[in-house]
């Protein structure tokens, strides 16, 4: 348990902390383009590791399971990086928003199930992959590259909704479990068994909507309160003067 789960988790958390701390410190007063440099490095490393993983698994097993396609829920964030870390465009903000919240969900889901697996080279890759994703999402917030706005919650929800539809469709057409939303090898199979696979996914979409709205709503409320407090302080200072 310690070697297979706790130690890799501790190493992952240390990696996340060091990455966020140093990158935020180094690029604190740098322009927007330069702040994106660490994310670019992470993106290239993830792509290289993903290609290596495919070759390694085919060589190892002589076959490639549907769950190993780089189309799973965890891979999704990787495809959002190029949308904002090379050139600023109209999708940049949405892509950044998409990298923050889903990364947290993915990391939590990853942590929740890893205790059952033995440590291997593929596991090490998985730990790096998820830790890197988490690190980027926190770095996006600490470097103020991404600022939470309530309006963004809908675009994040739409992206997730699109992905669920895509994953479900693909799982049904290919016949395997392309993602955690696959019918047979799912994290939420107990739920699918209770309400049915298709209905289960519809309910899941509703839950995703409520989750996104809840998180963005809480952050919006907190920031509004903060602004109000700041305004009050400014007014006090002015009246004192």
């Amino acid at each position: 348990m310690f070697l297979n789960y706790i130690l890799p988790l501790i190493v992952s958390f240390i990696f996340v902390f060091l990455f966020v701390f140093f990158c935020t410190k180094i690029y604190k007063n740098q322009p927007y383009e330069k702040k994106l440099k660490p994310i670019k490095i992470i993106f290239y490393s993830l792509v290289v590791l993903e290609i290596w993983k495919i070759f390694y698994l085919i060589a190892q097993n002589g076959q490639f399971e549907p769950l190993r396609y780089p189309l799973v829920f965890c891979s999704l964030v990787m495809y959002a990086y190029p949308l904002f870390c090379f050139k600023k465009n109209k999708f940049s903000n949405v892509a950044m928003a998409f990298c923050v919240l889903p990364s947290f969900i993915v990391f939590l889901m990853f942590v929740a199930v890893q205790w059952q697996y033995e440590m291997s080279i593929i596991q090490a890759h998985s730990y790096y992959y998820h830790a890197a994703m988490m690190a980027v999402s926190i770095y996006l917030m600490t470097s103020k590259l991404y600022v939470f706005k309530i309006k963004d919650f809908y675009s994040v929800f739409l992206c997730l909704f699109g992905y669920v539809v895509f994953a479900v469709g693909l799982s049904l057409f290919i016949g395997g479990d392309i993602s955690i939303f696959g019918p047979n090898k799912s994290f939420i199979k107990f739920f699918y068994d209770k309400v049915g696979y298709a209905i289960g996914n519809l309910i899941l979409i509703i839950v995703i909507f409520l989750f996104c709205f809840g998180i963005y709503g809480i952050i919006e409320l907190c920031s509004r309160k903060k602004e109000k407090y700041k305004d009050c302080e400014n007014l006090k200072e002015k009246t004192n003067d």
């Binding site: 809908y154 309400v195 049915g196 696979y197 298709a198 209905i199 996914n201 519809l202 709205f213």
Partner: protein, 224 residues
């Protein structure tokens, strides 16, 4: 029981999710949205049929598995409501609004409209629930887009429409020899379908009054 809960959740949340999007992106007119969602609803209805057909060999669907449901009728009249600008189109729109809860009632009374013995993933059921949600959504969009008020006479047209559905349903069940029995439950279902139009009208009347109040308040504020 869990099916009913899921049905209500989906019916409530489909309009909420779409209306939140409308509130955020603030489109200029509802016309394009109405067309898009009506096409989506028709698409889901066709998909429901094809998915059902795909469960059987050579796609020959037995007559008792053919789903000629209330929602099929709504799929047809929604297009008249959107594209026909005459009085008939307006009536279709009103009928659609007043009978928007009927697919849910049909589902509650008769689970056969969405159940298939081969549907392991519950795909047909999900599509039907989704359709119910889209019907409610389209009805809300129709109300938001409407300039004229729905008159009580429109309730009569809606009741005639429901009676028409009852006749078609009766004939389809009679000639296709489906398992549906014409007992008190069938008559109760049709009666509830008719009563629900009055219920929807009542909700609409109360909401309309509230909406108008809000609009006149806004106009007053601008004048001041």
């Amino acid at each position: 029981m869990i099916d009913v809960l899921c049905l209500f959740l989906i019916v409530i949340f489909v309009p909420i999710i779409v209306l939140v999007g409308i509130k955020i992106y603030n489109p200029n007119s509802y016309k394009k949205l109405l067309v898009a969602f009506a096409i989506t609803m028709l698409g889901i209805e066709l998909l429901r049929f094809f998915v059902n057909a795909s469960f059987y060999e050579s796609a020959i669907v037995p007559s008792n598995d053919l789903k000629l449901s209330f929602v099929t009728f709504l799929c047809v009249i929604v297009f008249f409501g959107i594209f026909n600008k005459s009085k008939f189109g307006e009536t279709c729109k009103n009928i659609f609004i007043l009978t928007s809860l009927n697919p849910i009632i049909v589902a509650l009374f008769n689970s056969k409209v969405y159940l298939s013995p081969f549907d392991n993933y519950g795909l047909i059921k999900a599509l039907y629930f989704l359709e119910c949600g889209f019907v409610v959504l389209l009805a809300i969009l129709f109300v938001l887009d409407k300039k004229e008020e729905i008159k009580p006479l429109q309730m009569l047209y809606s009741i005639i429409f429901v009676l028409g559905y009852a006749v078609v349903n009766f004939m389809a069940n009679y000639f296709w020899k489906t398992d549906i029995k014409f007992n008190w439950l069938w008559f109760l279902q049709m009666s509830v379908l008719i009563i629900s139009t009055t219920f929807v009208y009542l909700i609409y009347y109360l909401l309309r009054k509230w909406l108008l109040k809000d609009k006149t308040n806004k106009v007053k504020n601008i004048d001041e």
